[in-house]
């Protein structure tokens, strides 16, 4: 899946910090510092208490497969197909969407345990992916 051609996220005040953590191999989950509610994807305000103050926790990287799809067509330059995409239920309770690697599409099953890993593209861009994990 390594590629330098993927569409990179724009880095703004609302999301750039998350990718900076990913570059350090940290799977970050944003946390409201006022009420401690976790949220993902990141946004500037807590929808529980309206606080604009936040920090983040480093997720364990463990989770289970909530849903998935396998992208086959159309195929875009900058990506290698087929691409399995996982919706991961993290053990902290938040969900995250990311690529699923290290498994044939036919072997993927709902609920399977997953573990994050970090892959670097040839141009140095680092992004979290998930792979099958041993049962806990």
């Amino acid at each position: 899946m390594q590629t330098a051609g993927r569409i990179k996220p724009p880095m703004t005040a609302d999301n750039g910090w998350w990718w900076e953590q990913a570059a350090q191999q940290v799977l970050a989950i944003q946390r409201c510092t006022s009420c401690e509610t976790l949220r993902h994807p990141p946004r500037p305000m807590c929808n529980r208490c309206r606080s604009l103050q936040w920090d983040f926790i480093a997720a364990s990287g463990r989770g289970t497969l909530a849903s998935y799809t396998v992208l086959e067509h159309p195929q875009f330059p900058g990506y290698q197909y087929p691409i399995a995409i996982a919706l991961v239920e993290l053990e902290e309770g938040e969900r995250i969407t990311a690529q699923l690697v290290g498994i044939e599409p036919d072997d993927i099953t709902f609920g399977m345990p997953l573990q994050v890993s970090f892959q670097a593209d040839p141009d140095g861009f680092v992004l979290p992916v998930f792979e099958p994990a041993e049962e806990n």
Binding site: P41, T69, L71, H73, F76, T97, A98, P105
Partner: protein, 390 residues
Amino acid sequence: MENSLKNQAAIAGVGQTRYSKESGVSELSLASEAVANCLEDAGLAPGEVDGMVSYTLDSSDEIEVAQCVGIGDLNMFAKINYGGGAAVGLIQQAAMAIASGVCNNVVVWRAMNGRSGRRMGQGTGQQIVSSDLIHWSWYQVYGMLTPASWVAMIAHKYMHTYNVPNDTLASVATTQRQFAVSNPAAFGYQKPMSTEDYYHSKMVSYPLRVFDCCQETDGGCALLITSTERAKSLKQTPAVIRAVTQASVQGQEQMTSFYRDDIASLPEMEYAAKRVYAMSGLGPDDIDAACLYDAFTTEIVMQLESFGFCGRGEAKDFIADGHIGPGGRLPNNTHGGLLSEAYIHGVNNIAQAARLIRGNAVNQPDKTVDHVLVSSGVGVPTGALILGRD
């Protein structure tokens, strides 16, 4: 419901262009032709139009269409966001303008070179210019660039949760094609699709195959909304707006509501259902036919449950029993829908609903059609509409 739009306005005109894969003309040309045909159908002079509404995705500005068609003074012009989620939102905007006295006659449209020009199924690429660039970027980075890729995630979860077989999707695709086969305006005109054809179509993003996906179309479609009273003096049988609403709910994202509690249903569509049933005083049993938004087959399956035509997980049986086909309890998209007529972003589904109320639609069911339900785009901020006979 205090702020009811019930029976205040009606669809009094329907117009469209030829639907094709290569129009050979500009989107402004398609928009103008659709609007002009719509006014001709209604028997209303362009100078009588005082409001115009389209999609944020539509490339033709209101004033450019007005210039072409000969529309003069305008009191209201608006564009509605969220792709196909805008569809019945156009009707709500028009009905609000009429009910409040701001406008007398509002024309709404969508026109696009969806095949020869910018193809939605070909991905978002680098060209997104909207403010939700960050939103899409969480998916683009992994290669999720198409509506099919985003819709597949929820559809797959739903199918896993309720044991929905792929045959259910095949049935939706072939049933709607069966309608299109006898619709001269449709892509699927005289082009039958068998279950084998369905399974031979290319896998796009599991569980969605090419034949689970809507057409890509060049064409335009327009509707005239006026007061119910005024509609009665125009040429056509009015399709009275019994209820209309837009609908977005907590945790709403555009195509990727992957992070809320229940990801095997369509909460925004359930909210739309609650609103239109309350406003109209009707329930699922009162709906005689439907034009549910069908960019993908799975959206039909899930919406049958959102709108209460059957219980959770029961849509596969409802479909297997033939209820959405010819002669069924709820004939759905009897023109072929976005899947097999044309993808005019849902406005062509509203047009078919208005024709069903007039009683002269292609594949008009062999029964009295008093009420037709229409919905906007699925998995996005959406809406619903119920049309009825005067």
